[in-house]
Symmetry: C2
């Protein structure tokens, strides 16, 4: 890995673990093994480096979700695959976490990839739910947009519950609870 790459990856880790306010340029230099001069050669400063790190985390989240959404199986199976895919529940979401960073939310450039990621995620999931409804797989009264928002919220809130409990089990329980509600509707038709 070259220095630029090491700087981005170290910033991604630190933002995930400690948030924006808890990530100092010094900590980034220490973790990446890059000197101060090298850091400012590659990036204008912390916001510039944070933008590269946040954009990459957002792109990765999208790619992983897309793999589940575009995977094999029925709509219900693909939604289940998305909700159940292996996650490090105690680490939480590297993108969702940024919404708790006042400095990230106050900077339109840093907030943009966060906003776009969740808009894309709920929009894509809503499209999939609409398809499942149209094909008779899901309940005809199901509201795709509201259900998609609820499911994305369950994932993000599941991380909160897992971290509060110090156990990933609550994450799994919340996700299975939500999935059962969506699928039980199908059985009830």
């Amino acid at each position: 890995m070259d220095t630029r790459e090491r700087l981005i990856e170290s910033t991604r880790e630190l933002l995930w673990e400690r948030g924006y306010v808890g990530t100092s340029p010094k900590a980034i230099q220490q973790r990446s093994g890059a000197g101060q001069g090298s850091m400012y050669h590659h990036f204008h400063g912390k916001p510039d480096l944070a933008l590269a790190a946040i954009t990459r985390s957002a792109d990765e989240l999208r790619e992983r979700a897309r793999a589940a959404f575009d995977g094999p199986g029925t709509v219900a199976e693909r939604i289940a695959a998305y909700l159940r895919r292996e996650r490090d529940a105690l680490k939480g979401c590297p993108v969702g976490r940024l919404t708790q960073d006042p400095d990230v939310m106050a900077d339109p450039e840093l907030r943009r990839p966060v906003e776009e990621t969740f808009a894309w995620l709920t929009g894509t999931l809503a499209g999939l739910l609409a398809q499942g409804r149209a094909e008779g797989e899901l309940h005809p009264a199901l509201d795709p947009a509201a259900t998609a928002a609820a499911l994305v919220a369950v994932v993000q809130g599941g991380y909160v519950l897992a971290r509060a409990a110090g156990s990933p089990q609550v994450y799994a329980q919340a996700v299975e609870g939500a999935l059962a509600l969506v699928l039980q509707q199908k059985e009830n038709r």
Copy 2:
């Protein structure tokens, strides 16, 4: 308000807005108008003061939830009242927010009120859902514990979505989506 009280309330606000790592003793002193000597007269230090602030936020969250759960109406109406009660979605949850603070999660004393609050919340909601199921108000196959975890997660994740979008509407949409899933089951019986 006396000085001790002002210190606790200022710390509550700062923890909510900026998190633990972003809340310096100096910022607490500035917001509360208390001097350094006065702060250390009332509290041993930042962790001691944070514990008082976190405990109070946790107690308030519990009291508000209890008011909805013990309110009038059917089980479904009381759950709807809890999910729909007026919240400042863009500010997020003062207790859930702490799960993103690595220093709070790493300190067993500071984490305890956070853990206990969410355990109480999901447990109480599960009890209410079990009652609704026993009384024939909710679907007989509904899993009270998993559904309760899903609903509490939707609230916490709804805040994440609202902050990401910069709009409280997504919070309302996620909550209504989850509620429709729980209630539609009833209509399907």
